[in-house]
Amino acid sequence: MHLYLPIAGLSVNALVIVLLGGAVGILSGMFGVGGGFLTTPLLIFYGVPPAVAVASSATQITGTSVSGVLAHSKRQGVDFRMGMVLVAGGAAGSFAGGFLFRLLQKTGQIDTIINLLYVALLGWIGLAMARESVRAVLAMRDGKPPPPITTKRHRKWIAALPFRWRFYGAGLYISPLAPLLLGFVTGLLTVLMGVGGGFILVPAMLYLFGVSARVVVGTSLFQGLFVTATTTLVHALTTHAVDLVLAGLLLIGSVIGAQIGSAMVQQVRPERARMMLAVIVLAVAIRMALGLTWQPDAIYTVQGL
């Protein structure tokens, strides 16, 4: 069934978009990543203008996150206190990111900088996660207790920060400055790269802070909810690129997918889930790295004035 998207200005197969939303929703529910990394390029490939793809997938991620957070919170899988601290840091980071974005946009090289940042960051995170999760899986197979996720070095650095709060869900007694800073960096990078809050948050909470694996996904989704809701509003006000029909179609699939994903992840051992996320992160990084060096399909790109 074909539907016309009023803002994107083209007609799409509604079923394809719903299914795409569903696949992304499952990933969100399982791993706490927003899924913009998948939706945005696929929509652009389908012919949706880039600005509309970015704005509408932000709208979609909001709904997916709500669905995922509710599913996880039913199993006490969200640390709301840590989530709020991350959101506060994220708000400040978004403002800084928006400022930086405009500066880079003037040079016309914003996409190259974003792509390079992306490859470096995701490659590093993916490799670190893969190494740790493979070790953990191997240790489990030999019947040994899994090695601790965080290293002493990181804990010492975080422990040096002043004031301490108890984060019950996360099982931590650390300074709120650490998640505040993490939220800031995530917000900054989310605005700059358009996607990828979860990619940074999930590994950082796991490896840097040692947050209990039970609440990592839910808490990451909680933070993403606020970030993408703000992003939707900013896009609606500035670029006018939010396509409600497109977002609605994606949402139908993804809110259901998030429920399925959050149920699925309960059936998987946490080490294996981390390994799967590591594979996804690495695959995205490799795809982007290749994309930088391969000759693009379109040497010329057009921008309205």
Binding site: H2, Y4, T62, T64, V66, T232, G304
Partner: protein, 253 residues
């Protein structure tokens, strides 16, 4: 200079009391884009009137040009620098038609001389895009062909050779497909009557392409009430997330 040329070329049209006249029409002067819009076919047809009851000429050709509203564009060119592809040069064009389709009864090069084609902007290669950067002619041509290539691939620029049929030199009809991603706005359909490589008559009709119903409402809301629209988008996504959580909560209990 260009104006003068156009005037000279149009001279036969202005003086042409003895030349035939075109009576053009379009199947729909108003194309509505609704939720199920997947493109449309425009039928352009009409009659050729010969003054004084002269016998119709058999070797008459017709070209139909449909143009969308023009817009200024910035075209960027990527190049490989230190192993990665980056945007390295750009060119501004002041007036790029957002849509351009030409339908002809015979291949363009057999119809009119290159000069006439250039003056009337018949054929994709003859569009005047008004590059504004003052780069070398070579460079401008490179950017132009890049831009035209993009437009062609997205179906917004097209040449339909043989899509016009002329019956006994009196009636003509052309079927021009309009793709789904057509930009909205006021379009012009120009019809040219061509004989012996000369344009002997021309006529213009306007077509307006616009969104209708729900599509129009959404597009207008996004432009006119951005804050409300953004809040509505947030609310819808929140409610859909809640709805899914409730639905699944019920099912699992």
């Amino acid at each position: 200079m260009r104006n003068l040329l156009a005037l000279l070329a149009a001279l036969p049209l202005l003086l042409g009391a003895s030349e035939p006249r075109l009576v053009p029409d379009v199947s729909n002067t108003q194309v509505d884009i609704a939720y199920s819009f997947t493109g449309a076919d425009l039928l352009l047809f009409g009659a050729i009137l010969y003054p004084g009851g002269r016998a119709p000429a058999p070797d008459t050709d017709v070209a139909v040009v449909i143009k969308g509203p023009a817009e200024p564009l910035l075209v960027r060119e990527k190049a490989k620098v230190a192993g990665i592809w980056i945007n390295h040069a750009s060119e501004r064009f002041r007036s790029v038609p957002s849509f351009y389709a030409v339908a002809t009864s015979r291949p363009l090069d057999q119809l009119v001389s290159p000069r006439t084609a250039a003056i009337y902007e018949i054929g994709i290669g003859n569009l005047l895009l008004s590059p504004a950067n003052g780069a070398s002619a070579n460079e401008q041509a490179r950017f132009e062909s890049g831009l035209i290539d993009l437009k062609r691939k997205s179906g917004l620029y097209a040449e339909h050779v043989g899509a016009v049929s002329v019956r006994e030199g009196v009636l003509y009809r052309a079927l021009v497909p309009i793709p789904a991603r057509v930009p909205v706005g006021r379009y012009t359909a120009e019809t040219y009557l061509i004989r012996n490589g000369h344009i002997v008559a021309a006529a213009t009709r306007e077509i307006s392409i616009g969104k209708s119903g729900f599509e129009r409402f959404i597009a207008q809301a996004a432009e006119s009430w951005p804050l409300l629209y953004g809040l509505a988008a947030m609310l819808i996504s929140l409610l859909m997330g809640l709805a899914a959580a409730f639905a699944f909560g019920r099912v699992r209990r």
